[in-house]
Amino acid sequence: MDLPTPHATVELPVFLFAAVREVVGSDQVTIQTPLPTTASALRKILSQRYPQIDTWLAVSRLAVDRRFVADEDQIESATEIAVIPPVSGG
Protein backbone atom coordinates (compact mmCIF):
# COMPACT_ATOMS: atom_id res chain seq x y z
CA MET A 1 0.00 0.00 0.00
CA ASP A 2 1.24 3.42 -0.94
CA LEU A 3 -0.72 5.47 1.57
CA PRO A 4 1.11 8.65 2.49
CA THR A 5 2.76 8.43 5.87
CA PRO A 6 1.95 11.25 8.30
CA HIS A 7 3.43 14.51 7.06
CA ALA A 8 4.42 12.94 3.78
CA THR A 9 4.69 15.52 1.04
CA VAL A 10 2.43 14.95 -1.96
CA GLU A 11 1.96 16.66 -5.29
CA LEU A 12 -1.59 17.76 -5.98
CA PRO A 13 -3.26 19.31 -9.00
CA VAL A 14 -5.06 22.60 -8.34
CA PHE A 15 -7.81 23.49 -10.80
CA LEU A 16 -8.40 27.15 -11.56
CA PHE A 17 -11.51 28.74 -13.05
CA ALA A 18 -12.91 31.95 -14.43
CA ALA A 19 -11.00 35.11 -13.45
CA VAL A 20 -8.47 33.14 -11.36
CA ARG A 21 -7.65 30.95 -14.33
CA GLU A 22 -7.14 34.02 -16.49
CA VAL A 23 -4.94 35.79 -13.96
CA VAL A 24 -2.67 32.75 -13.58
CA GLY A 25 -2.83 31.97 -17.28
CA SER A 26 -3.53 28.28 -16.77
CA ASP A 27 -6.48 26.10 -15.79
CA GLN A 28 -4.33 23.79 -13.69
CA VAL A 29 -1.23 24.14 -11.53
CA THR A 30 0.54 21.73 -9.20
CA ILE A 31 1.48 22.31 -5.58
CA GLN A 32 3.41 20.32 -3.07
CA THR A 33 1.89 19.96 0.36
CA PRO A 34 2.35 17.79 3.43
CA LEU A 35 -0.60 15.61 4.42
CA PRO A 36 -2.56 15.84 6.63
CA THR A 37 -2.96 19.57 6.26
CA THR A 38 -5.62 22.26 6.59
CA ALA A 39 -7.44 24.40 4.04
CA SER A 40 -5.79 27.54 5.36
CA ALA A 41 -2.32 25.96 4.92
CA LEU A 42 -3.26 25.20 1.30
CA ARG A 43 -4.30 28.82 0.85
CA LYS A 44 -0.89 29.95 2.12
CA ILE A 45 0.93 27.72 -0.35
CA LEU A 46 -1.19 29.06 -3.21
CA SER A 47 -0.70 32.64 -2.12
CA GLN A 48 3.08 32.26 -1.95
CA ARG A 49 3.28 30.62 -5.36
CA TYR A 50 0.73 32.91 -7.06
CA PRO A 51 0.64 36.27 -5.25
CA GLN A 52 -1.23 37.73 -8.24
CA ILE A 53 -4.39 35.87 -7.13
CA ASP A 54 -4.30 37.10 -3.52
CA THR A 55 -7.34 39.35 -3.93
CA TRP A 56 -9.20 36.44 -5.50
CA LEU A 57 -8.12 33.93 -2.87
CA ALA A 58 -9.52 36.23 -0.20
CA VAL A 59 -13.02 35.82 -1.62
CA SER A 60 -12.73 32.27 -2.96
CA ARG A 61 -13.61 28.97 -1.41
CA LEU A 62 -11.40 25.91 -1.71
CA ALA A 63 -12.66 22.52 -2.77
CA VAL A 64 -10.87 19.28 -1.95
CA ASP A 65 -11.92 16.30 -4.03
CA ARG A 66 -14.89 18.34 -5.28
CA ARG A 67 -16.22 19.30 -1.86
CA PHE A 68 -16.03 22.71 -0.27
CA VAL A 69 -13.76 22.84 2.75
CA ALA A 70 -13.71 25.39 5.53
CA ASP A 71 -10.40 26.98 6.51
CA GLU A 72 -10.18 25.10 9.78
CA ASP A 73 -11.01 21.71 8.21
CA GLN A 74 -8.35 19.05 8.61
CA ILE A 75 -7.50 17.43 5.27
CA GLU A 76 -6.33 13.85 5.64
CA SER A 77 -6.18 12.91 2.01
CA ALA A 78 -6.68 14.64 -1.30
CA THR A 79 -6.57 13.89 -4.99
CA GLU A 80 -7.51 17.27 -6.42
CA ILE A 81 -7.81 20.82 -5.14
CA ALA A 82 -9.79 23.65 -6.72
CA VAL A 83 -10.02 27.39 -6.15
CA ILE A 84 -13.68 28.40 -6.38
CA PRO A 85 -14.14 32.15 -6.86
CA PRO A 86 -17.65 33.51 -6.22
CA VAL A 87 -19.91 31.50 -8.49
CA SER A 88 -22.31 33.04 -10.99
CA GLY A 89 -24.15 30.13 -12.57
CA GLY A 90 -27.86 29.59 -12.64
Binding site: E22, A63, P86, V87, S88, G90
Partner: protein, 155 residues
Protein backbone atom coordinates in the same frame (compact mmCIF):
# COMPACT_ATOMS: atom_id res chain seq x y z
CA UNK B 1 -31.68 14.15 -13.14
CA UNK B 2 -28.80 16.54 -13.58
CA UNK B 3 -27.22 17.53 -16.87
CA UNK B 4 -24.63 19.96 -18.19
CA UNK B 5 -25.00 20.73 -21.86
CA UNK B 6 -23.57 22.89 -24.62
CA UNK B 7 -26.86 22.66 -26.54
CA UNK B 8 -29.99 24.78 -26.35
CA UNK B 9 -32.34 23.45 -23.70
CA UNK B 10 -35.38 21.86 -25.33
CA UNK B 11 -38.29 22.62 -22.98
CA UNK B 12 -40.82 20.41 -24.71
CA UNK B 13 -38.44 17.47 -24.60
CA UNK B 14 -37.78 18.12 -20.91
CA UNK B 15 -41.54 18.10 -20.29
CA UNK B 16 -42.05 14.89 -22.24
CA UNK B 17 -39.12 13.06 -20.64
CA UNK B 18 -40.22 13.99 -17.14
CA UNK B 19 -43.88 13.09 -17.65
CA UNK B 20 -45.21 11.23 -14.65
CA UNK B 21 -48.74 9.92 -14.21
CA UNK B 22 -48.71 10.37 -10.45
CA UNK B 23 -47.93 14.07 -10.44
CA UNK B 24 -50.48 16.83 -10.88
CA UNK B 25 -48.21 19.87 -10.62
CA UNK B 26 -45.15 20.93 -12.55
CA UNK B 27 -43.07 24.02 -11.86
CA UNK B 28 -40.45 25.01 -14.39
CA UNK B 29 -37.90 27.72 -13.73
CA UNK B 30 -35.89 29.18 -16.59
CA UNK B 31 -33.02 31.58 -16.17
CA UNK B 32 -32.62 33.49 -19.40
CA UNK B 33 -30.00 35.87 -20.69
CA UNK B 34 -31.46 39.37 -20.72
CA UNK B 35 -30.51 41.69 -23.54
CA UNK B 36 -31.38 44.77 -21.55
CA UNK B 37 -30.54 45.56 -17.95
CA UNK B 38 -31.69 49.12 -17.75
CA UNK B 39 -29.77 50.79 -20.58
CA UNK B 40 -26.94 48.28 -20.71
CA UNK B 41 -26.99 45.77 -23.52
CA UNK B 42 -25.79 42.19 -23.22
CA UNK B 43 -24.96 40.23 -26.37
CA UNK B 44 -24.13 36.82 -25.05
CA UNK B 45 -22.79 35.07 -22.00
CA UNK B 46 -20.17 32.40 -21.67
CA UNK B 47 -20.49 29.78 -18.92
CA UNK B 48 -17.55 27.84 -17.53
CA UNK B 49 -17.91 25.07 -14.98
CA UNK B 50 -15.92 22.75 -12.77
CA UNK B 51 -17.86 20.05 -14.52
CA UNK B 52 -17.57 17.05 -12.25
CA UNK B 53 -18.02 19.02 -9.04
CA UNK B 54 -20.93 20.98 -10.54
CA UNK B 55 -22.75 17.76 -11.42
CA UNK B 56 -22.03 16.22 -8.02
CA UNK B 57 -23.20 19.36 -6.21
CA UNK B 58 -26.42 19.52 -8.21
CA UNK B 59 -27.07 15.82 -7.59
CA UNK B 60 -26.53 16.46 -3.90
CA UNK B 61 -28.99 19.37 -4.02
CA UNK B 62 -31.54 17.18 -5.79
CA UNK B 63 -31.16 14.57 -3.04
CA UNK B 64 -31.59 17.22 -0.35
CA UNK B 65 -34.69 18.62 -2.07
CA UNK B 66 -36.19 15.14 -2.18
CA UNK B 67 -35.67 14.84 1.56
CA UNK B 68 -37.19 18.24 2.27
CA UNK B 69 -40.25 17.99 -0.01
CA UNK B 70 -42.50 15.28 -1.39
CA UNK B 71 -41.53 15.62 -5.03
CA UNK B 72 -41.57 13.02 -7.77
CA UNK B 73 -39.28 14.43 -10.43
CA UNK B 74 -36.38 16.85 -10.44
CA UNK B 75 -34.65 17.83 -13.68
CA UNK B 76 -31.82 20.33 -13.61
CA UNK B 77 -30.18 21.27 -16.90
CA UNK B 78 -27.42 23.88 -16.96
CA UNK B 79 -25.78 25.26 -20.08
CA UNK B 80 -22.04 25.64 -20.49
CA UNK B 81 -20.27 27.59 -23.24
CA UNK B 82 -21.81 30.50 -25.08
CA UNK B 83 -25.46 31.30 -24.41
CA UNK B 84 -27.12 33.86 -26.64
CA UNK B 85 -29.54 36.51 -25.49
CA UNK B 86 -33.02 35.02 -25.09
CA UNK B 87 -31.73 31.50 -24.48
CA UNK B 88 -31.98 29.79 -21.12
CA UNK B 89 -28.82 29.14 -19.15
CA UNK B 90 -30.68 26.90 -16.70
CA UNK B 91 -33.89 24.94 -16.55
CA UNK B 92 -35.20 23.45 -13.32
CA UNK B 93 -38.30 21.30 -13.52
CA UNK B 94 -39.97 19.87 -10.44
CA UNK B 95 -43.03 17.63 -10.64
CA UNK B 96 -44.97 16.71 -7.54
CA UNK B 97 -48.39 15.46 -6.51
CA UNK B 98 -49.14 18.85 -4.93
CA UNK B 99 -48.10 22.24 -6.21
CA UNK B 100 -46.81 23.83 -3.01
CA UNK B 101 -43.92 21.36 -2.80
CA UNK B 102 -43.02 21.92 -6.45
CA UNK B 103 -42.92 25.71 -6.05
CA UNK B 104 -40.88 25.57 -2.87
CA UNK B 105 -38.42 22.99 -4.13
CA UNK B 106 -37.86 24.77 -7.46
CA UNK B 107 -37.23 28.08 -5.74
CA UNK B 108 -34.91 26.53 -3.18
CA UNK B 109 -32.99 24.73 -5.92
CA UNK B 110 -32.30 27.82 -8.01
CA UNK B 111 -31.43 29.87 -4.91
CA UNK B 112 -29.00 27.23 -3.72
CA UNK B 113 -27.52 26.45 -7.12
CA UNK B 114 -26.65 30.12 -7.47
CA UNK B 115 -24.70 29.94 -4.20
CA UNK B 116 -23.18 26.48 -4.28
CA UNK B 117 -22.54 25.19 -7.77
CA UNK B 118 -19.12 25.92 -9.31
CA UNK B 119 -20.23 27.55 -12.55
CA UNK B 120 -19.17 31.02 -13.69
CA UNK B 121 -20.52 33.30 -16.32
CA UNK B 122 -18.78 35.97 -18.30
CA UNK B 123 -20.28 38.66 -20.41
CA UNK B 124 -18.96 38.56 -23.94
CA UNK B 125 -18.51 41.83 -25.80
CA UNK B 126 -20.46 42.37 -29.02
CA UNK B 127 -18.84 40.43 -31.89
CA UNK B 128 -18.14 43.59 -33.87
CA UNK B 129 -16.09 45.18 -31.11
CA UNK B 130 -13.36 42.66 -30.68
CA UNK B 131 -11.73 39.56 -32.11
CA UNK B 132 -12.88 36.59 -30.02
CA UNK B 133 -10.30 35.27 -27.59
CA UNK B 134 -10.82 32.90 -24.66
CA UNK B 135 -9.88 35.55 -22.14
CA UNK B 136 -12.06 38.27 -23.65
CA UNK B 137 -14.95 39.64 -21.68
CA UNK B 138 -15.81 40.25 -18.09
CA UNK B 139 -16.43 37.58 -15.47
CA UNK B 140 -19.53 38.08 -13.44
CA UNK B 141 -18.84 37.43 -9.80
CA UNK B 142 -21.60 38.18 -7.35
CA UNK B 143 -20.92 39.28 -3.78
CA UNK B 144 -18.20 39.38 -2.54
CA UNK B 145 -16.79 41.46 -5.33
CA UNK B 146 -13.09 42.22 -5.27
CA UNK B 147 -13.37 43.70 -8.75
CA UNK B 148 -15.99 45.84 -10.35
CA UNK B 149 -18.76 43.55 -11.42
CA UNK B 150 -22.40 43.57 -12.24
CA UNK B 151 -25.16 41.05 -12.58
CA UNK B 152 -26.47 41.15 -16.14
CA UNK B 153 -28.76 38.16 -15.96
CA UNK B 154 -31.53 36.46 -14.13
CA UNK B 155 -31.31 37.91 -10.64
Amino acid sequence: MVELTEQRIDIQKLMDLSCDERTGAAVLFLGTTRRWTGDEETHSLFYEGYRQMAVEQMEQLEATARQKWRIAQVWIVHRLGEVDVGESSIAILVRSPHRKAAFEAAQWLIDTIKEQVPIWKKELPPPSQVVPHPNTGRWVHPDPQPMESKEPCDE
